[in-house]
């Protein structure tokens, strides 16, 4: 019983990480329908940004989010405007371009750091919290809290504000949204910016947990796509609960089946969901219907 509880706690904390990485991708993939392979690299940039702030100004990575998140918002806007928007009618070329961005980001960071691994230390992150017999690391708990807060904030933003409403309208039917006077291009631009900013938030908060390396984004990107499709496109709840489900499945499979197979198991679950219910668990029916050609 204790073991099960332990596994569940580990799974929840892991799910927080997956959810935090996926929540921005869910916006980008769900609203603009770009398969953004470079999303993991945006998370990586967020991590290195936090390291830069930590090493030059001595600030904790949690304070660094105040700098990293706006910076990633700007990077996202620039990327969308210069690279992705011109390719809007060419979806396969868009995938290709995001892959090129992935290669560039990874190797620019590699060239600057010369492959040296960095780590960010933080007094708060290293503390542990006793929860019954289980000791929970503070840094992971903060992530779970942060993804919960981010999910609620994003949900309120999408439901309550005009901009949020226009994002939802564009998700449902971009033709109709355009006819209603919504500036679809500007909505996409801002959505990509917010998605990138959330990737930056994820990066900064993850930086105390991982040793930083240029290729670290690759650890997150496939999981993030699985979470997004599993949870449901354009659904904040989908990214949140999808992340927790993937985290729990990974922890349970790792404990009860075989740690080496845990990834295959959640990928198979993901494939099964994709085939049986392409909309995802929380997605709107029909959201997956937009193929490459209808995107223009």
């Amino acid at each position: 019983m204790d073991a099960l509880l332990h596994v569940l706690v580990i799974g929840m904390l892991l799910g927080g990480i997956y959810g935090l990485v996926s929540i921005g991708l869910n916006l980008i993939f769900g609203v603009i329908r770009i398969v953004n392979f470079a999303h993991g690299e945006l998370v990586m940039l967020g991590m290195y940004g936090a390291y830069l702030v930590y090493s030059t100004m001595g600030l904790s990575p949690y304070v660094a989010t105040l700098i990293v998140v706006p910076a990633l918002f700007v990077i996202g806007i620039v990327l969308y405007r210069l690279v992705l928007q011109p390719l809007q009618t060419e979806s396969s070329m868009q995938i290709f371009a995001t892959f090129a961005l992935l290669v560039i980001f990874q190797n620019v960071v590699l060239a600057f750091t010369r492959g040296e691994g960095f780590s960010v230390a933080s007094g708060v992150a290293g503390m542990t919290l006793p929860l019954g017999e289980i000791r929970v690391t503070m840094s992971r708990l903060i992530i779970l809290l942060a993804v919960t807060a981010a999910a609620i904030a994003l949900h309120l933003f999408l439901k309550r504000t005009m901009l949020g409403k226009s994002i939802r309208a564009v998700t449902q039917d971009r033709q109709a949204a355009r006819l209603m006077g919504i500036n679809v291009e500007r909505t996409f631009l801002i959505t990509f910016g917010i998605g990138s900013a959330l990737a930056g938030l994820a990066g900064a908060l993850l930086s105390p947990i991982y040793t930083l390396s240029p290729g670290i984004g690759g650890n997150f990107i496939l999981a993030a796509f699985a979470v997004v499709v599993l949870g449901g496109l354009g659904s904040v709840a989908g990214a949140y609960f999808g992340g927790l489900i993937v985290g729990l499945v990974e922890a349970l499979a790792g404990f009860y089946v075989d740690p080496e197979l845990k990834q295959a198991i959640w990928f198979l679950i993901f494939l099964a969901v994709l085939v049986v219910r392409p909309t995802g668990l929380f997605g709107q029916v029909g959201a997956e219907e937009i193929g490459f050609r209808e995107q223009a």
């Binding site: 190797n107 620019v108 496939l222 494939l271």
Partner: protein, 349 residues
């Protein structure tokens, strides 16, 4: 004065004139032979140089592999990122048949191709209802599941360390003491893949595939069995990719999961080469391979030692520029130029 296209001119630059006016078999055969002869020239010029011979061998191999990918993704519009699975099936089946039962690789690639076609049809079948990027992500997931399994079932695959094929030179073993043998082998594979693409492009199945790519609902309404067409294209594409995987295994003589399931070097590479050359055209994937593979290898050798990652920064930038300024690939850009030349203003000459 700017040239004005006639109303009959194709608005899409990838639609080669060949598609508007079906050329005779005679003409196709001659351009096929001519193209292969041109592709053979660098082999004659460079065969003394081990460095370039190795690059050329990879270029031929990846030209064939990209052409195989293009059968399903280019003609049929099914943007697969899971072709690494077929590549790996070919490599493992050929290598295991050779190592465990001493089957000559020349024979072993046939069951390897068959197995790949069967498994490919089976695993892709449930994903055919997915469209566009969803299909791409689902097939990407196949690649990852296969990677985990290949690492896990160590008794069959040799696990993460892989299988080593000892160097026992001999034509029956498909192991050549003279590296030119491998270059010719890969050249033959490219010729095979191109021939399949050419025949397919003019066959009934080829036209069905184009119809499915352009508009699935319309194709179904016209009486095409969409699932059957996708299945046949998958089987063909998977079989060809597996042959390429088998040849690759015999060339490098190491079969290990990190190499076979690598996304940048295998699974996504086929797509990158085809996109840069011109997706959906017969010649595009080959053009892409001939541009990218040598450039990448050369830059790696030139810059790899100085600043880590510099050659990949350059490659990534080149790919980005190609995506932005040659949306229909090299083949599309050439077609657009030809089209402009054909409709050049005659007045004032």
């Amino acid at each position: 004065m700017k040239s004005v296209g006639t109303p009959l001119a194709s608005p899409r630059p990838t639609e080669t004139p060949a598609q508007a006016l079906i050329p005779s078999w005679h003409r196709v055969a001659w351009s096929y032979a001519g193209g292969l002869a041109i592709a053979l020239v660098p082999l004659l010029l460079l065969s003394a140089d081990r460095f370039w011979l190795n690059i050329l061998t990879y270029t031929y191999l990846f030209a064939g592999l990209a052409a195989a990918w293009n059968v399903l993704a280019g003609f049929g519009g099914q943007f697969s990122l899971g072709h690494g699975v077929f590549f790996a099936i070919g490599a493992y089946a050929t290598g295991l048949l050779f190592m465990k039962w001493g089957v000559s690789p020349w024979l072993a690639i046939l069951p390897a191709a068959l197995a790949s076609a069967l498994i490919g049809s089976l695993i892709f079948l449930p994903t055919f209802r997915l469209k566009g990027s969803f299909f791409a992500i689902a097939t990407l997931a196949f690649n990852e599941v296969a990677l985990v399994f290949a690492n896990y079932f160590e008794s069959v695959t040799g696990g993460p360390r892989g299988i080593q094929i000892p160097f026992r030179a001999g034509i029956a073993n498909m192991i050549f003491a003279d590296p030119r043998g491998y270059a010719l082998l890969m050249f033959g594979f490219m010729a095979l893949a191109l021939a399949v693409a050419l025949v397919l492009r003019r066959s009934r199945l080829g036209y069905y595939l184009l119809a499915v790519r352009e508009d699935e609902d319309a194709a179904r309404a016209a009486g095409i069995s969409v699932v059957r067409v996708k299945l046949r294209a998958t089987a063909l594409s998977a079989a060809l990719t597996a042959i390429g995987g088998g040849l690759f295994a015999m060339y490098v003589r190491t079969i290990d999961p990190p190499t076979l399931f690598s996304l940048p070097d295998i699974g996504v590479k086929f797509a990158l080469l085809s996109l840069i050359g011109g997706i959906g055209t017969v010649i595009g994937p080959v053009l892409g391979a001939f541009l990218i593979v040598p450039t990448e290898s050369y830059l790696r050798a030139l810059l790899g030692g100085s600043v880590p990652g510099l050659h990949l920064i350059l490659m990534g930038s080149l790919m980005l520029l190609a995506a932005l300024f040659m949306r229909r690939g090299v083949a599309g850009a050439v077609d657009a130029l030809l089209e402009r030349w054909r409709h050049r203003p005659r007045s004032g000459r």
